[in-house]
């Protein structure tokens, strides 16, 4: 291990190695943050999508796109109020409440959508509500009447009647002067959505929530299912690193042990290992993975298992064998046998440590290739069905024609993470290669 230690001490002399280490540390930090900030179960629930995301805009860009724009894209505005928070007028057998939802709209662009969520409580006869929209210039527009169920969504921006009446999509028409609507100019100022509710039961109540969905969200934006892409970017990191590391460790270590075993015992064991390797080398990995994914399971752990299994008897065996053959004959091995070292001790403690330093650079550069493999599988639709991964974000983006629709961030951010991973490990690996295999050092 002395060569290993002295090698490690030289790393400081290679700026690229330090940069690589920083990148890897950043990725590891991100993984730790992901795992602690969003526990595993929660990450799975979040990525399954659905109601959890109803407060989030659909296909919103990341917040940082505003840095490059003159007209700022709007963020999401959420206003909530309960009927219990306001005075009610009580009459014989019924009561009336006016719930004002106030917000000021100061963005240059229209929101992407507007929804009103209502949660009412009643026994037999539900409340009746009418919605009024009050603009900064004093207009009052009746948006219509509803008889909300226990949980009710008023999709304002999809209301066809309203759209016909206002002559424009409601989330735009409601936020501009009637004359300006064609110029797509926002009327900035304080707006009010008044919910005029009539209750027919004493115990009845109404929770209201108005959402004006923005067009930017968080550091990574959202996808077509309103899911925050950040969840996948964050959780993709530990998954990618774990997959890459486990696959690299699994294949390198087992390959090395098998190669060393063959070299040590020689004879038919060696011959059998060589023949298996030759057969395995011509087996195509990707089609086999596609078949396993299509016919058996797309679980990332099954894929990992197949990758490792196919990787064990890889071309590496031939290389390791060539490195180990002279070591088998070295006097220190003979000495070890003379003082009683057994077969497994000789293989694991006397042969493998001898070649390990040479293999470390290759091992480091091997990690991202497995990360890319996992992403490629996901893009091909063979990603893990439940886990949020970078590859699955790319797969969704491809499925929704993200680039055609202008959602470039949907492709760029996972691709950036993949490239960052590749870059970090490659920079470290190449520097280690120069340290441990000095003949490659530039002159």
């Amino acid at each position: 291990m002395n060569r290993f230690m002295t090698g490690l001490r030289q790393i400081g002399q290679y700026p690229s190695a330090m940069a690589g280490i920083l990148v890897i540390l950043f990725l590891v930090g991100l993984s730790l943050y992901a795992v602690f900030a969003i526990p595993y179960r929660q990450a799975l629930d979040l990525w399954r999508g659905g109601e959890i995301w109803q407060d989030h805009p659909r296909n919103a860009a990341p917040a940082w796109v505003n840095w490059f724009r003159l007209n700022n894209l709007p963020s999401t505005i959420i206003v909530e109020k309960s009927s219990a928070d306001v005075e009610s007028e009580n009459f014989q057998g019924w009561s009336r409440v006016r719930i004002p939802l106030e917000f000021s709209y100061t963005y240059d662009e229209f929101p992407s959508e507007m929804n009103l969520f209502l949660k009412s409580r009643f026994q037999d006869k539900g409340p009746f509500i009418r919605l009024f929209w009050e603009t900064p210039d004093g207009r009052e527009i009746l948006l219509g009447g509803h008889r909300p169920r226990l949980s009710h969504r008023v999709a304002l921006s999809q209301d066809r009647n309203l759209e016909r009446r206002l002559d424009a999509p409601p989330h735009m028409a409601l936020l501009s002067l009637p004359d300006d609507i064609d110029k797509r100019k926002v009327l900035k100022g304080d707006y009010r959505l008044v919910i005029d509710a009539v209750f027919f039961e004493e115990e009845s109540s109404l929770e209201t929530k108005f959402i004006s969905y923005g067009r930017v969200h968080g550091p990574a934006g959202t996808d077509h299912q309103r899911r925050d892409i950040m969840v996948a970017l964050l959780w993709g990191t530990p998954i990618a690193l774990a997959f890459g590391l486990l696959a690299a460790v699994g294949t390198t270590i087992t390959t090395l042990i098998i190669a060393a075993t063959g070299v040590w015992f020689g004879n038919w064991i060696d011959a059998a290992i060589q023949r298996i390797t030759e057969v395995n080398m011509i087996l195509p990995m990707l089609p086999i993975l596609v078949m396993v994914g299509a016919l058996y399971s797309r679980s990332i752990w099954v894929m990992l298992g197949v990758v490792v299994l196919l990787g064990i008897f890889s071309a590496g065996i031939k290389m390791y064998r060539a490195m180990l053959l002279p070591i088998r004959e070295s006097p220190y091995i003979e000495a070890a046998r003379a003082y009683g070292a057994g077969h497994s001790r000789i293989i694991l403690r006397y042969m493998i440590p001898r070649v390990l330093p040479v293999l470390i650079p290759g091992f480091v550069t091997l990690i991202p290739t497995f990360v890319f493999l996992e992403a490629s599988l996901a893009v091909l639709g063979l990603g893990d069905p439940v886990l949020p991964t970078w590859g699955k974000v790319l797969h969704d983006a491809q499925g929704e024609s993200a680039l055609y629709n202008g959602y470039y961030y949907w492709v760029i951010s996972p691709a950036f993470m993949l490239m960052l991973t590749g870059l970090g490990f490659a920079m470290l690996g190449f520097a280690l290669d120069r340290i441990f295999n000095p003949r490659l050092r530039s002159i």
Binding site: R3, P331, A335, A336, R337, A338
Partner: protein, 329 residues
């Protein structure tokens, strides 16, 4: 000096052949590296095995260490037949025999420090706890004059000089308190300046611990100082056994004489002259000469006898045997 005359190792008609195969399957012959060797080694004696390169000295050593399986013949160690040992017995045997190799740097795993190198035999044989192991390591380092031990414990082989490396090798061979040491040309790869030092060290340890030392060399000139008896090997067989002084003064076998003649003359006037061994190639071990293996090169070969029959051991003197028809009674 030969201790209590107790026999430690006795070897009977030992053969170690290597199969020669073509295409890995077809047997085309054998390399008869050790071909019918018998001898006894007593406790506390040092015996030198001499012979030219390729005569099977290392193969004999490896067979004695259990690294090669003998083709036939028996090796008894302290009365026990080595071939009948089970795994446990073989492990114990390996603790009783230490091995010192030719190339000290190659003999040390380059990725272990001195402490680890010396601890390995103890770990394998489950000797003592960490503390006891540590004290044994220090003890044997003192024995081979690697002192103070602290200065060397953390060093890796490449940080040591050749002489220090060989001291570590010797210390490792002594770790398990063996009763026999097999040293295969222990100094031939060392700098001339440290050779005598290392040989003296080995000799001292051998004497103080009453060890049996099988000392393989092709340098007859050092034998006088470091061995009591000499076995001369030729083409896989021992051709002459004798005490050192007797052998140097009255060599019985023509091959031994040739070897002695080949030594650089101690007379300074002739120092540069090194006489040649008898003409002819060393014999093939695959297809050795019939009868006496030395007969094609022997100046005294008796026609009709030497090329026909293998000579048995004759006794030209007390404790002196020679496998040569010249000494038939």
């Amino acid at each position: 000096m030969t201790g209590d005359n107790e026999i430690v190792v006795s070897v009977r008609d030992l053969h170690t052949w290597f199969e020669l195969r073509r295409w890995g399957i077809v047997r085309v012959g054998n390399v008869r590296a050790v071909d019918g060797i018998s001898f006894d080694l007593k406790r506390g004696e040092s015996v030198a095995f001499v012979g030219e390169s390729g005569c099977g000295k290392s193969t004999l050593a490896r067979t004695l260490l259990g690294l090669h399986i003998p083709t036939s013949g028996k090796v008894f160690f302290e009365g026990i037949n080595m071939q009948e040992l089970d795994r446990k017995g073989l492990l114990d045997y390996r603790a009783r025999v230490g091995f010192v190799q030719q190339d000290p740097y190659g003999a040390l795993p380059p990725f272990m420090d001195v402490r680890r190198i010396l601890r390995e035999p103890l770990i394998i044989h489950g000797v003592g706890d960490r503390k006891e192991q540590e004290s044994r390591i220090r003890e044997s380092m003192e024995d081979v004059r690697l002192s103070p031990p602290e200065e060397f414990l953390h060093k890796f082989p490449h940080m040591l000089s050749g002489g220090q490396q060989q001291r570590v090798v010797i210390a490792r061979a002594l770790m398990l308190k063996p009763s026999m040491i097999i040293a295969d040309e222990p100094v031939s790869m060392l700098d001339a300046s440290v050779r005598v030092e290392i040989l003296n060290l080995l000799r001292n340890i051998q004497k103080t611990r009453q060890l049996t030392l099988a000392f393989i060399t092709h340098d007859l000139s050092t034998v006088r100082y470091f061995a009591e008896r000499v076995f001369v090997m030729y083409a896989g067989r021992i051709v002459e056994k004798s005490t050192v002084d007797n052998l140097l003064e009255h060599p019985a076998h023509p091959y031994t004489r040739a070897l002695l003649d080949a030594l650089p003359d101690p007379d300074p006037e002739n120092a540069a002259r090194m006489r040649e061994l008898p003409s002819g190639e060393p014999p093939s071990l695959i297809d050795p000469p019939s009868g006496c293996r030395f007969h094609p090169r022997c100046p005294h070969a008796i026609k009709g006898l030497c090329e026909v029959d293998i000579p048995p051991d004759f006794e030209p003197g007390e404790g002196h045997t020679a496998a040569c028809w010249l000494h038939r009674q």
